[in-house]
Symmetry: D2
Subunit: 388 residues, 4 copies
Amino acid sequence: MASTDAVKAALKAQHIETPSWAYGNSGTRFKVFAQEGIPRNAYEKVDDAALVNEVTGVAPSIALHIPWDKVDDYADLSKHANDKGITLGAINPNVFQEDDYKLGSVCNPDPAIRAKAIDHLKECVDIMDATGSEILSLWFADGINYPGQDSLRARQDRLAEALQAAYDRLSDEQRMLVEYKFFEPAFYATDIPDWGTSYAHCATLGDKAQVLVDTGHHAPGTNIEFIVAFLLRQGKLGGFHFNSRFYADDDLMVGAADPFQLFRIMHEIVRAGALDKAANVAFMLDQCHNLEPKVPAMIRSVMNVQEATAKALLVDADALEEAQRDGDVLGGNAAVMDAFNTDVRPLLREVREELGLDPDPLAAYKRSGHAERVREERKDGQAAGWGA
Amino acid sequence: MASTDAVKAALKAQHIETPSWAYGNSGTRFKVFAQEGIPRNAYEKVDDAALVNEVTGVAPSIALHIPWDKVDDYADLSKHANDKGITLGAINPNVFQEDDYKLGSVCNPDPAIRAKAIDHLKECVDIMDATGSEILSLWFADGINYPGQDSLRARQDRLAEALQAAYDRLSDEQRMLVEYKFFEPAFYATDIPDWGTSYAHCATLGDKAQVLVDTGHHAPGTNIEFIVAFLLRQGKLGGFHFNSRFYADDDLMVGAADPFQLFRIMHEIVRAGALDKAANVAFMLDQCHNLEPKVPAMIRSVMNVQEATAKALLVDADALEEAQRDGDVLGGNAAVMDAFNTDVRPLLREVREELGLDPDPLAAYKRSGHAERVREERKDGQAAGWGA
Amino acid sequence: MASTDAVKAALKAQHIETPSWAYGNSGTRFKVFAQEGIPRNAYEKVDDAALVNEVTGVAPSIALHIPWDKVDDYADLSKHANDKGITLGAINPNVFQEDDYKLGSVCNPDPAIRAKAIDHLKECVDIMDATGSEILSLWFADGINYPGQDSLRARQDRLAEALQAAYDRLSDEQRMLVEYKFFEPAFYATDIPDWGTSYAHCATLGDKAQVLVDTGHHAPGTNIEFIVAFLLRQGKLGGFHFNSRFYADDDLMVGAADPFQLFRIMHEIVRAGALDKAANVAFMLDQCHNLEPKVPAMIRSVMNVQEATAKALLVDADALEEAQRDGDVLGGNAAVMDAFNTDVRPLLREVREELGLDPDPLAAYKRSGHAERVREERKDGQAAGWGA
Amino acid sequence: MASTDAVKAALKAQHIETPSWAYGNSGTRFKVFAQEGIPRNAYEKVDDAALVNEVTGVAPSIALHIPWDKVDDYADLSKHANDKGITLGAINPNVFQEDDYKLGSVCNPDPAIRAKAIDHLKECVDIMDATGSEILSLWFADGINYPGQDSLRARQDRLAEALQAAYDRLSDEQRMLVEYKFFEPAFYATDIPDWGTSYAHCATLGDKAQVLVDTGHHAPGTNIEFIVAFLLRQGKLGGFHFNSRFYADDDLMVGAADPFQLFRIMHEIVRAGALDKAANVAFMLDQCHNLEPKVPAMIRSVMNVQEATAKALLVDADALEEAQRDGDVLGGNAAVMDAFNTDVRPLLREVREELGLDPDPLAAYKRSGHAERVREERKDGQAAGWGA
């Protein structure tokens, strides 16, 4: 078991990136319920993300979604972020919201559309150059809805070609993370449905390509921490998109549906030493708050990751390894459960106080008056949302 | 095994209702890809449904969605339908697309919003009175996204109250079908998640309330034909919303994902004599065509139901029952598989010819010039879609 | 929020029944790994159950499985249990391990086999009369493996007849709980696959028939606490078979796979006042320890239920209801999560000390020398197991 | 579309291997229902497999399971098979039925047990040398039941070591297929849970290691044909274990649960030219007949694969590719469905007649008197089964 000081140090050094799109309006195919005080542009999203960092101390970057967060001057946006105490993080290309992409983007049967999609990927690396972002975060909505709609095999060939083109555009300081998704918006076959597909492509591409694990993108019953442990072993875990789900949608607050699963994932991270910055694993949130207010939901989510991490750090590694070595099934399980059953909130309050923060980030948020202020400031104009 | 004449007679008498909303634009939360020639109002949706009936001969009614299909004069819309050879079918209230319904409609914690939703249900029965529709088709998007968001129990009490209010408004010629849905758009708990919940409410309400089985609304691995057989035994199968899905979305063309399952469902229907009009089981489609053109997709869907029905009618009931009585596992299975493996398309061509139709409905559709005509006629104005 | 005294009182009054079969050897279809010190008969199973009660204080009864636990003199077995401080609990008929039951028991196409199965059910009520057990706990392995193997509908008729026969045999102090199971050992259709099927049969039978919820018997993604809340509303929740599973097998220690789910279930129980003995909900364990030693695994399981119960009792009901009334999504969720995140182990140590027990049941078990003693005492003869 | 002659030629050349263990008794953890006429040893299993080949013409080899099929003289067993018209196929090591393997075989924390397991793998290659088998078919029951029971990562290291040892033992004419399984008998984590894990290990090992796809070993909703197409693209599809399942067990007759899925899999095989012997894809059955008589069930299974193959061969490739190129969603789907909806049984009757076989294999089996003969001949002695 790590010393309390080591645990605290790890928790203070944690870096959880929040996504710009979570600050905008979102919903289901049935309805988007608009909220008040929603940012109208990338600058205001940065402001919200900065506030989340201000009260939690561990969310010092914001991921961007292009073109949703397109600005004229990325250096200026980057400076705005820095002024607010955060940086611009991963760049997420969007190749699913134009009419051209109806039958896919990089896997589209039409070569002209594929070329357009690839151009957008390269454009996003241009933006990375401008912002200093190190991660190109790739998710494709590509797939097919019916058997026979397109060739599964041909689509893989097209995918490989596009990934190669994007890969070749990366500088040595940049890397690309390839996300997989079990289903949606394609309903018969998605072109990167599982970690194996992403892994195989990344292995072919080289060291700058790694797998991105979105915790909401798996078949029912999938053991996600196994995947995490396996990818770490292979040196191919690039990072996470954290969120949670009970059944099929992947956008609830991380840790809300299965906090034990989140703990088990962080346990594998800690066991592999991958919390360390040198391991280069990106911890990013990717979730949309359809009903709950967005900024406090994001604060809560960051806290949920912190709590799972703290519990993982508290596992008594010696006791665990001894039990495992001895084939003591109940003992090994108990070592893990003891940590999970610990209430780490007092520890995290201490960590925050030592960082000069309010021990209660949600109370600090409420006291900040941010919600009231933006409700007034942002009442005119077009609230950001998917596609806006 | 029924005689060929009896099989043909049953196929000619089949009645499959198509849904108005399937003729409008639809999509996923990621993107709605607009199509050309989309109806702009209820009248034009009726026109499209009438064409589906014209070429298939077995789709003589259209379900309406209120308020999407609101018109000033329902008698006039009804007359328009009749002129085109079809009737207005089930009325589907919509209590999920107004901002008030963010936390639910009939289960909302706010009594004023519940009252508003109940009023809409009653308004829909008024419309039934005007259109002569006999079915009030109830689906609620109600549910919660997080444990603790609301009381599961209190929501059931509110639901029961609303169902009772709608039930009391029905005339003796009218009935209400209560649909259940496993998940979406609520992600932690839907208020009617399974057939058991719907059944229990309907049993309390009385004979005019029955369960509606949407084939896309079940947990993975659920044996839907068991539910169908069970509800028929209890006299509580009101009807179907047909569609299909591979994993989680429920809007693919019926029979596209698992034609064997559709056959098994129709097999239970045939075995229970429930294809007979007297059984009062409504066979309705409920699907949205996000990528494929809507009218031919609907024609294909109707044909898929016909083919499954024809196969079910061809099961050798004597051989099946003998094998079942004898505990002949392979024999019983073979009786069912023999029918499923039969190519019933020639039989259905004959049926259509005997009905005076083109044996190939899709060819007839293409020859009709409908697609080209509506592309031109409907190019101005607002295409119908969810919420329009 | 209940006072600490009230919480403690509730925890002291808790009654968790352990199953006799969990003390015998068990395994998968691939292999049963025998353990040492396994009981050889019902008396020795009672001894093990008594020890679990001795160290936990809240497991004062043992469920029996007939014929596995058949004895010549049930009064004597009952006296043995009483001498050890426990009572004989639910009686579980076994109609799945004789060759006759290959195609089912009460649903078998052969009337002679059905009659035999019904006789066994009645025999089990005779045993209840002899032991004073109040619960007949019914689970049927019945079902079919292939479409067409048997008639789904006819099997329901046979099931209804058998349930009625057993029901009619019950005295007024006895009740029957009807368990459902999603799959296994039947692979195409089980005859009671879900709570709805069990509920519909119980509703027909009357007040002495109630639904038994086995927490491992649901489709992936099923919201079990919804079912619990719904059945409580209908007055039809008879009790639980607690265990847990990650994907498909239902025999891991309760709380091991998803402690948050167990907490949510207990939260619904507490909210409905169903922890109270007057509510007549039976809390029974049903799990098999294939790898881990059985007695400590059972102690751990009892503790897991206690911890989930303690957390559920700690939910601040006023704060929860206020948030729910106000539509405060994050607030309602927080009220629930605050309780779940609390470490209740210190509270339970206090509860145990106040009951005169060792605060650490597993330590007390180890100190008792039971494992060593039975390893020696029981080394000859046939260890109990499924079918033995 | 291939010419009828080409289709027939492909069907005549098909090679489907049946598994020795399917001819022995099997069951669930609840009960093994013994059948009559069950083989008592490897020679009699060969006899049954030979009969399946005799009536179908396309099942000319039998897979062996060691130690279940251990014999003193493999050359003699091989000669016996040849005399009966078949050959000995894949060798399947069994490292799950000894008490030592309780916590795993090649992943066991105890190095001595790992060494023992590796020795068994090598012994199986010795047997391959003796029988001329070219395939070492590896499935491990390894895994853990509880979080913390063992280190996920350490187990992968041990697995890699064992796979390497087996790999190094192979001659150039031999290869090893690495099977994955989603769950069971381990319930928290299996050590090779998915194709990605198997693929990554095989990629490290080299060309003689390939992935084995068991059609019953996936999470719900998994698109198996995608995996097949992907592995073919990577040159890593070693073969199949065919069977089917509705929910979670993987031992129903192939094609029984979802014949459309089987067709889609064979469609990918045909599209990739992998039906050709040069593609080196092994088509093996792996299923257990718990209720149905084993030899006719196996015949039926072989016929099901034939029918799916025939349908796949009938897909109009030109029409399909044109529709795919044009983005014609309905057209592409129709090309596939047209083939699936074709009744290929007449074509297969012709194929059999041209091979000099009875067009109806099940009728030929019945006429053969095999069932009656073996019932008498094998009534004494110990029927083969798992572990026997």
